[in-house]
Symmetry: C2
Subunit: 215 residues, 2 copies
C-alpha cells in the first residue's frame, strides 16, 4: 500500500507522472513485470534513484523478479489521485487554449475540461469541443457554482497575473501556467509552469553534439 508521507521532494513529485506514463506504455505493449534496472534505462535515471523515489511511498515491494507493472501503475495513480478525477477550466481560448481543450490525452487520465473562458467578443460564444466559450466576466460565478480543481492559463502574458489573482480569490488552488510570466501568488497555491522552448533548447544542444561527433 502507498503510505501517506510528507516532505516528498519536488523532483520526486515531478518524476511520478513520468513513471505513470512509462508504466502505461509498458502495459499497453503487454509487458507485465519490470526490474528497477530495466525501468531505469527507460526513464534515464539510476536504479537506486528509482528505489529511493518509491521508498517515499512505502517501496511498492519489489520482489526478486522485479515490479508487477499493473500493481505499480495503480499505486502511482492512487498517489497522483488520478482516479478521483480533476475538473479543469481553460482561461484563454486562443490557439493554445483550443488545442488543449481538444487534447485527447487529458480525459484518459481523468482530467476533464469543463469550461473555457476568454475576454475577446469574437471568441466568446464560439463552440470548442462541445463547450461554449464563456466571457471572463462570468469566471467568479462559474467557479462558485461548479467544481474546479485546476485552471489552465493560456492567456497573453499581459493578462495572466490578473486572471490568476481572480482564480485564487475565487478559491482555485492549482494553476497550470503556459504564459511565460512569473506569477505572484500566495504560498498555498500549487503552480506548474510549462516552458515550451525548453525542449527546443535541448534539441539545439543535441543537434550540435551529433555534428561534433560526426553522426
Amino acid at each position: 500500500m502507498a503510505e501517506e508521507t510528507k516532505h516528498v521532494p519536488n523532483v520526486v513529485i515531478h518524476r511520478l507522472p513520468r513513471y505513470y506514463r512509462h508504466l502505461s506504455d509498458l502495459l499497453a505493449q503487454g509487458t507485465t513485470k519490470i526490474s528497477s534496472t530495466e525501468l531505469s534505462v527507460r526513464m534515464g535515471v539510476t536504479a537506486s534513484q528509482i528505489r529511493q523515489d518509491f521508498n517515499f511511498f512505502g517501496g511498492f515491494g519489489q520482489q526478486g523478479y522485479g515490479y508487477n507493472i499493473e500493481h505499480l501503475q495503480n499505486e502511482i495513480a492512487e498517489i497522483l489521485r488520478l482516479k478521483d478525477g480533476n475538473s479543469v477550466i481553460v482561461v484563454g481560448a486562443g490557439n493554445l487554449g483550443r488545442a488543449l481543450a481538444n487534447h485527447p490525452g487529458f480525459e484518459r487520465r481523468g482530467f476533464k475540461i469543463t469550461a473555457l473562458f476568454d475576454k475577446s467578443p469574437e471568441v466568446v460564444g464560439t463552440v470548442i469541443n462541445g463547450m461554449t466559450v464563456m466571457d471572463m466576466s462570468n469566471l467568479e460565478e462559474y467557479i462558485k457554482n461548479n467544481r474546479v480543481d485546476i485552471a489552465v492559463l493560456t492567456l497573453p502574458k499581459s493578462g495572466v497575473q490578473e486572471a490568476a489573482g481572480r482564480l485564487v480569490d475565487s478559491g482555485v488552488k492549482a494553476l497550470l501556467n503556459f504564459s511565460y510570466a512569473e506569477l505572484n501568488l500566495p504560498e498555498n497555491i500549487a503552480v506548474e509552469n510549462v516552458h515550451l522552448s525548453d525542449p527546443l533548447m535541448t534539441l539545439s544542444y543535441k543537434l550540435r553534439e551529433m555534428e561534433t561527433e560526426g553522426k
Copy 2:
C-alpha cells in the same frame, strides 16, 4: 570557457535550458551575481548537483562571491548553441501548430519558425503569423532547398510516424514530438517528446497533498 566534453548525461542536458531560463529571469530583474546555494533554491536541485553539472563543461569558475550571471548565461547559451540560431518547421497546422507558430518565446531564443505544413485542403494556403501553410506534398522539396534544423510534430497521432519518417529521410536530424506516439526512428536522430498531461498529474498530486495538510 566552456570546454567540449563528451558523455554528458541526459538529465544534465535537460537541466541546461532550465539554468538558462532562471539566469535570464535573474538578469531581467537586474541581479548580477548568484551563489550556487541561491541558484539551487530557485532550481529545486542541490548546490552540489549544480557544481557537478557545471563541471561537465569546465566549471564556469565560481569565485568566493558566486557566479557572474551574465557570464554564466552566455556560457550556457554557447553550450546550447542558441547564438547560431535554429530554423524550425511545424508539421501539422492545427490549433497546437498555430499556437506554436505564434509563440513569442521562441524567436527570442533564436528559434525561427520558417514554414508550416498540413495536409488538410482547408488549412493549406491559410496564413499564420505571416507564413502561408504549405501542402505536405511539398515537404521534401522545401527541406531540399531550405535550412531546417528542427521539425515540430503537431499532427494527430495516426499520421506522426509517417511524417517523422519523411522528415528523417529528407535529412532532418531533430524532432520535437507533441503527439502522444512513440516514434520508431534511427539512433542518430534527436527526439524530444512533450507530454502536456505531466504537469496536470503533478498538480493533481499537489492539490491533494495540500488538502491532507489542511492548507
